[in-house]
Symmetry: D2
Subunit: 454 residues, 4 copies
C-alpha cells in the first residue's frame, strides 16, 4: 500500500492519495494538481478514482482539473446538485489494487458530506482509515452554519448522527484523516496534530463527549466568520471551476510596467514580512504575509487584476499559487527584483509605523488619546484582550471603516503582528493617517506581563 498526505499550508487543507498495484485514488484534491500526477508517476500508478468529501467553501476543488488530466472518475455525495462527477450511494464500494473505498454518507457540515473508509482486502476488508472531510477533525468537528442560522440546528443534528452512528461505530482502531488542520476557517479549535484515530478522538475530542442536546446547542452557539470569497468557491465547486491545465506562473514586471498596471486599477498584494511592509511599501497595497494569504478573500475582487510584491521569485510564486487555490486567476505579475527595483527608480514609497507592545503599554499608561483596534476572532478576544480596546474582525474592517476615528492614532493589534499588518494596510488604503501595527501582538503583550481583561 502506498499512501501520501498532502497539505496545502495556507488554507490548511489536507488531501490524501492511496495506491496499490498500479492503481490509485485521491481524496479531496486541490486545484494545482501536478503533485498528484507526480506521485502517480513515482508509484507507477494510474489515478482511477477521485473522491470528494463535500463541496467545500474555502478553496477551489481540484477534481475536475485532475479528472481532466488523468481520465479518473469523480465521486461525491448526494444532496447538492454538482454539475460534474457522480453521486455515490451510502456503503457503495470501489476497488483499486488490493484496497477498497467504502462511501459513508455523513451529512451535517453540508447536505452531501460523505466520508470514505479505506478497506484492505488483504486484511479481510478491515476498515483501516476514514477520510472524514469536514465532519470530524482532530480535536473538533466541522461547522454546521453554512446553510444559514435557520438550518443550523438541523444540520447540527445530522452531524451528530453522522458522527455517533456512522463514524464512531467503525471502531477505535480506525485512523482518522480529515480535510483540514489547525488554522482552517472550517473549524474552530482543530489540533496541531493531523493524525488521529476514532479511539483518540473519543478520548480527547470535547465535541464527542456531549449528549445530542449539548452537541446541537454548542454548534448553534458557535460564531464563525464567512469570508465573501466563500460564495465564489461554492459556485466554482458546484459548477466546476475554470480548467487551467497547469498552475500559474507569474511574469516579472519592471517598476514602470508595475506602476502602469496599478494606475489601471490592479490590486497589489504585498507578501513580505510585516516589518518590511512597515519599512517601506507601495501606497495602497495590502499587507498579506504568507500565512495570511487566504485573508485576501475578504478584500480582493475576482474581476480585477492582482499584482504581487515579494522578497523573491519563490515568494511571489507562493503567493500566486495560494491565491490561485482560492480562485484568483488574474494575477498579472510580480515586481521584478523586489521593492528595491521600485525605490531605486525613485518611485514613491509609504511606511506603516511599527510599535512594540512596550510602546503601546507606555502610551496607555500615559493615558494618551489612542484607539486600540483588535482584529482577532471573537473566541480569541474572549480569552483576553487589552482594556479599552475595540474589536472588529479582520475581515470586516474594510466595510466598517466608517466606524473608526480618523483624528486619533489607531493601534492595530492581533495575536502576533501579521493580521494586524493586514488590518493596518486596509486603514492606510482607506486614507487613515495615524495607523500603527503592534509587533508581537497579544502574544508579546502576555509575555511582557501586561494585563488582559476578559
Amino acid at each position: 500500500m502506498k499512501f501520501q498526505i498532502l497539505k496545502s499550508e495556507i488554507v490548511s487543507h489536507i488531501s490524501y492519495m492511496a495506491g496499490s498495484k498500479n492503481e490509485a485514488v485521491v481524496i479531496d484534491p486541490r486545484r494545482d494538481c501536478e503533485t498528484y500526477l507526480e506521485t502517480a508517476k513515482e508509484w507507477e500508478t494510474k489515478i482511477k478514482y477521485v473522491f470528494e468529501t463535500h463541496r467545500n467553501e474555502d478553496y477551489v476543488i481540484g477534481s475536475s482539473e485532475l479528472a481532466n488530466a488523468t481520465g479518473a472518475q469523480v465521486f461525491h455525495g448526494p444532496g447538492l446538485d454538482w454539475a460534474y462527477g457522480e453521486k455515490v450511494d451510502d456503503k457503495q464500494e470501489f476497488y483499486f489494487g488490493s484496497l477498497g473505498i467504502r462511501a459513508l454518507h455523513t451529512p451535517g457540515h453540508s447536505p452531501e458530506s460523505t466520508s470514505y473508509v479505506l478497506l484492505d482486502s488483504e486484511s479481510g476488508n478491515q476498515p483501516i482509515m476514514i477520510f472524514t472531510g469536514d465532519t470530524l477533525f482532530v480535536g473538533d468537528v466541522g461547522r454546521t452554519d453554512f446553510l444559514g442560522p435557520k438550518m443550523t440546528p438541523t444540520m447540527s443534528e445530522k452531524m451528530y448522527h453522522s458522527l455517533f452512528e456512522k463514524i464512531l461505530p467503525l471502531g477505535d482502531g480506525t485512523i482518522v484523516f480529515p480535510a483540514h488542520g489547525a488554522g482552517s476557517v472550517c473549524g474552530g479549535k482543530i489540533s496541531e496534530r493531523e493524525i488521529s484515530t476514532v479511539g483518540i478522538e473519543k478520548a480527547t475530542n470535547p465535541m464527542l463527549k456531549l449528549t445530542k442536546e449539548q452537541f446541537i446547542a454548542t454548534k448553534v452557539a458557535e460564531r464563525h466568520q464567512t469570508p465573501p470569497y466563500f460564495k465564489k468557491m461554492e459556485v466554482y465547486n458546484l459548477e466546476g471551476p475554470p480548467l487551467v491545465g497547469t498552475s500559474p506562473t507569474l511574469s516579472p514586471l519592471k517598476p514602470i510596467e508595475f506602476d502602469e498596471k496599478i494606475k489601471k486599477g490592479a490590486y497589489v498584494v504585498d507578501v513580505r514580512a510585516p516589518v518590511a511592509f512597515g519599512g517601506a511599501h507601495i501606497r495602497g497595497s495590502y499587507s498579506l504575509p504568507p500565512s495570511r494569504l487566504s485573508n485576501a478573500g475578504w478584500v480582493l475582487p475576482y474581476d480585477k487584476p492582482v499584482l504581487v510584491v515579494a522578497d523573491s521569485v519563490e515568494g511571489a510564486d507562493f503567493a500566486a499559487k495560494n491565491l490561485f487555490r482560492i480562485g484568483y486567476d488574474k494575477i498579472e505579475g510580480y515586481l521584478a527584483n523586489g521593492l528595491e527595483s521600485w525605490y531605486k527608480e525613485s518611485h514613491p514609497i509609504s511606511k506603516l509605523s511599527l510599535v512594540t507592545v512596550s510602546d503601546l503599554n507606555s502610551l496607555i499608561m500615559a493615558k494618551k488619546g489612542i484607539f486600540i483596534l483588535d482584529v482577532r476572532r471573537e473566541n480569541e478576544w474572549n480569552e483576553g484582550h487589552i482594556e479599552g480596546s475595540t474589536r472588529i474582525y479582520l475581515g470586516k474592517i474594510e466595510q466598517e471603516v466608517g466606524k473608526l476615528p480618523r483624528d486619533i492614532p489607531i493601534y492595530v493589534i492581533c495575536k502576533t503582528g501579521n493580521r494586524s499588518s493586514f488590518g493596518a494596510s486596509i486603514l492606510l488604503r482607506a486614507g487613515f493617517e495615524q495607523v500603527h501595527n503592534c509587533l508581537g501582538g497579544i502574544d508579546a503583550w502576555k509575555k511582557s506581563g501586561f494585563p488582559l481583561i476578559k
Copy 2:
C-alpha cells in the same frame, strides 16, 4: 506536529521522525542519515533525541552517525551492553516541543527491545502512536530466535507479555508504527500495508489471537534464516559502527581499471535486471538485482573490495547506498558507462541461459534429465513447488554447492526470477556450466496453469 515516515526499501526498514516547536526526535535512524538532517532543516528543528527500539541485526544502526552530526542524545533499552547511548527506564519520559515520548520495555525480539509511545501534551498526554520496533509488525510479530533455540521459548514468552501486557493495553486507538515492512527478514508475513493501530492488529493479526501457549508454540516452530552478515551487524550495532560523515559516492572506473581490481580480488555485484545479466555479464559476478541487494550479506566478505555493474550512475549509487546500509564500506567503484564500455573494449563476457516456464515445462514433459533447484524459503516451498524439484535456500547455495550435480543441466527457480538469477550466478562462479534461470518463476508457472505439489 510534524511527522515523517522514512522507508529504506531493500531491507524494508522504517524509521520515523517527529517534531514540534523547533525540536525533533528520530526513531531507529539508518546509517546514511543526511535525510534526517534535511528534514530537520526544513522543519527548522534541532534533533534532540534519538531512540533505538533494539540492537537490530539486519542493517547498520545510524544513531551514532546522527548523534555525531547533530549532538542529539541516543537512547536504547537495557539488557544488552551497548557501547554508546544511554539506557532508558521503563516509563521514562522525554519531551520535545509539545510532544513527548514514553519508553516501554518490550523484550522478546531481543532482550533490550523497547517500544516508544508518542504523547501529545496538547491532548492530555494521550498516547497517539507507538513505535514498536521488531515487537509488533503489521500482521505479524518479530522473530524470537536470535538468542538460539534454547532461548526461543523464553524470548517468545517475554514477547507475549510485551504484546499483551504492554502494547495492547494502550488502547485500540493507538497508531502502530513498526521498524519493518513487508519483505523484511525480521518477520515472516508482514503486511504490505505499513500503517495500523492496536485495534486493527487485534482484529486482524493472527498472532494476537493465540493463547499464550499457542503463541509460544507457534514462535518456537518458526524457521527463519539468519544470513552470515547479521553477525557483523550485531557487532557493529552494539559497539558502534565506523563513522563515515557522509554517504558513499562511487568512483567511475574505466574497463581496464575495473579489470585490474577484479584481478586483485575484488568482488563484482551486478545489479542489472536478470534479463540483462543473462544477456551478458562479467565472469564471476553476482547477479543481485536491486530488490535482492541485501542478499549480498550471504556471500560478500567484509574485508574485500567490492565493485558494481549497473545500468546507470543512479543504479550504481543505489547499490552502493544499500550495501553501505548493511555495512559494506569497501565499495571501490562502478564500471563507468556500463557494460557497453566493457565489451566495446573487447573484454570477455559470459552469459546465463534464460528460460521461460513453458520451456521448463516442456523439458519436464519430455522427461529430460534435468535438475530443478528451487531457492525459495521453506514457507514458500510449502505452499507449492514443482514436482521433482529440490529446495536449497538461496543463502545456503554457495556452501552447499557440493551437493549439486555438474553433469546435468540445473534450472534455478524462485518466485519471479530475481533470486534465481542470484542463485544461478553463484553456480556459474562455482564453475557449473549448464545453468539456467527460469524467468517469471513460480508466479509465471502458476499463471500458466502448470501443476504444483505441496
Copy 3:
C-alpha cells in the same frame, strides 16, 4: 549578461538563451519548452524574442509552443513560407536589456537560413557571439542537399558565400554557437567540442580551408541519409506543429493492457540496453537503446499508437520526451514495472542472440556460411569493414529486407552494438529466425586486433 546553453542529447540539437535586465531571447527552442520558462523565472526575465536559424528537418521546432506560453515574438529568415513568426531583414537589430541581436542572412543549408549575432551595447555593440544554426558547425558545415541534388551546387555556393562573406568577416574573436553537436544527422563530422570561435574554426575546420570550387565540389560529393521522418518535421516546422501545452507524461500499463494495445496495432519501442533486449523482449518490438531513439524516425508511423518498454519510469519518460521531440504524439503508455511484470504473468518473450566479436571471428575463420550485415553509414564503412560483410544503412533495412538471406545466419554489426541491435530487431520483426547482434561491434573488433579492409 545571463547565458545558457541547452542541449537535447539524442538529436544533438543545441538551443541558447541569453538575458539582460529582465528580458531574454531564445535561439532555436525545442518543443518541450518548460526549461526556458524555468530559466526565465530564475533570471526574473520575460522572454521577449525567439529566433529561428532555419526551418529544421530533424526535430520539431518549439517557437510557437514557446510564443504561446510567453507572448514572445518569433522571427526567422526569409525564403520559405512559414505559417507563423515574422521575417527578419538582413542586419535587422533587436534589443533586450543591454544586449542586442543582429540578424545575418546566411542561406545555404536552407534558403532562409539566418544567423544571429549577439551584440553587447556595453562594449560598443561589439559582436560577441554568433548563433550559426546549421551553417557553421564546430569542425564542419551544414548539409546543402535538402533541396535535392539539382539544387545542391547552388545551395553549396550560397553557403560558401554565407560563410566567407558573412560569418568569417565578423572577426576571429567571435564565439560560434551552432544548432547541432556531434552525432547530429545534420552534419557529417561535427566535433565533440561544442564551443568554438571564428578564429578556431578558421584554424581547424577543414571546410574553411577550401577554395570556393573545392568547397562546392566537396559538398556535392557528400552522401547523407534523409530519414523519412524529416518530411514530417518540415511540414510541422513550416506550418507550425500541434501545440501541446506541456511535455507528455506516460501512463503505466499493466501487462494485459499493454498486450491489448499491441494486438490493436500499437508499435513497441524497447529502450533497454542491447544485452537486456537480447536476454528477453516482447515479440515484434524495436530495440532502440536511448542513444538511438531518433532512429525511430525511420520505422515508426505517425498515425499509430506507440508503446514503450524501459527499465524504469525515468527511462520510459526519456523515450517519450525524445520521441515527442521528433513529433510522435501518440505514445500511449509504458509497461508498468518493466519486463519483469510481463514474464511474471507468463506472457511470451523472445530473445535475440548476442555474440562477441571473438565468436564472429571464429565463425569466419571456420568458414561457416554466414551473412555479415554492417549497418553503419557509408563514411564509417569506408574507413574499414570486415571482409565479406555487406553494408545496408540502418535506416534502409526495413525496406530492403527482401535482399537478405533467410536460410543462413545473419550477424548484424555496427560500431558498438546499439545500432546493430535496432537492425537485428527489424529483421526479427520481419520474421528472420537466425539473427545475431555483435556486441562491441567494429570498435571491439579493432580492439581485438582482427583485420579490417577498406
Copy 4:
C-alpha cells in the same frame, strides 16, 4: 567535451570544470566543493587535476578540500611558497581524456599567477580557451597592488608582459575565462558579461590599448581597497585552510538561545532587505543584505561566534555558505522562524530610520543641519556625489567612527541603499542615535533629477 562554469555570486568568483572520457579537471575551485563532485558524478568522470591560477586573496581556495575528497593532484604556479600542491613549469602540459591543459606563467597580479590554456587534441592541440585567473578580466585586468606600493610598478610591468607576450599571442580566437566577474574587489571595471575572447578583449578592453608606460602608470594610479579579511585569506590559501568535509549547516536557535549567545559575545549578521532591517532588527546587528555579505570581512572577527538573522532557512543557509567561503567557520546558528519569533516573545527590537531621496533633498533645500555620509568607492564618488556630502569608504567606517558628528542627524547613502544600510548599522552599533538610511541611493537621486557634483 564537457564544460561547466560555476559562479559564486557574492565574491563574484568563477571556477571552471572541463571533462573528457571519464576524466575531468577543475580550475580555481571554491571551498564548498560538493558541486564539483556532483558534476563529476553526472559526467561519470574522476577529477584528475585541480589547477589554481593564483593564491587568491578574496575567498578561501577549495583545492585541498577537493583533493581530499577525490585524490586529485593540485597544481599552481611558482613564486610563492604554497604548503600544498605542486608547482607547474611554464608550458607544462597535462592530459585528460582527449583534452589538455598547458600552463602559462603570467605573473603580475601575484608572483605565481599562472594561466591555463585548454587544448583539444582532436583539433590538433589548438588552444581553445584560456583560464586567465586575475590576470585578464572581461573589460579589465587584475590588481597589481597586493605586494604594496613599492612593488606595484614592478608587478604592473610583469602583468603587461604576461598580457602582451603570453596571452594575446594565443590568437584572437581563444576564449577567455577569468576568475572573477563584475562586482569583484579584485578588479575595478569588470564587465557584466562573463565570456569573452582574446579578439573581443583586444577590441574593447581599454587596458589592452595602452602602451607599456601608460599601462604601468594607470595601474600605479589605481586606488583599491583591501579588506582586513584578505590577510586571513592569504594565510589560509598559502598554508591550506582547515578541511571541513562538507559545507556548513546552521542550527535553528530559539529566541532565548539566540539571546544567550549574543550576551556571550556572538556577532549578529542580519541578511534581510534594508527595508526590513529598518522596520525592526536586533540591537547591535550588522545589516548585510545578501549582495553585501562579503563586506562582513571588514567587521567580523574570525575568532568570535557569528549568528544569522534571515527571512527563511534558505536565506540563513545562503549567508552561512557565503561567510564560509571567506573563512568564517564559527557560525553558530540562525534565529529559528525569523524575527517574528523574536518580537513575539517580547525581546526588544531596534529600528533604523529609512528616508527617500526626496526626503533628503527637502532637508537639503531647507538647509537643515545634517551630515550626509557617502559610503561608496572613490571611483563612484568621482563620477558624481551630493554637494556637501562626506565620503568614507564603507569598509573604513567602523575604524573612523570618531570622525563623525554625534549631535546632528547622519544620512548614509550609497548607490542603492544596501551598502548604506550596512554603514548605518555600523553607526547604530557604535551608539549613534540619529542615523538614517537613504533608500534608492544615488541611483534614485539621479532618477529624480536632483543635482550631483564631481
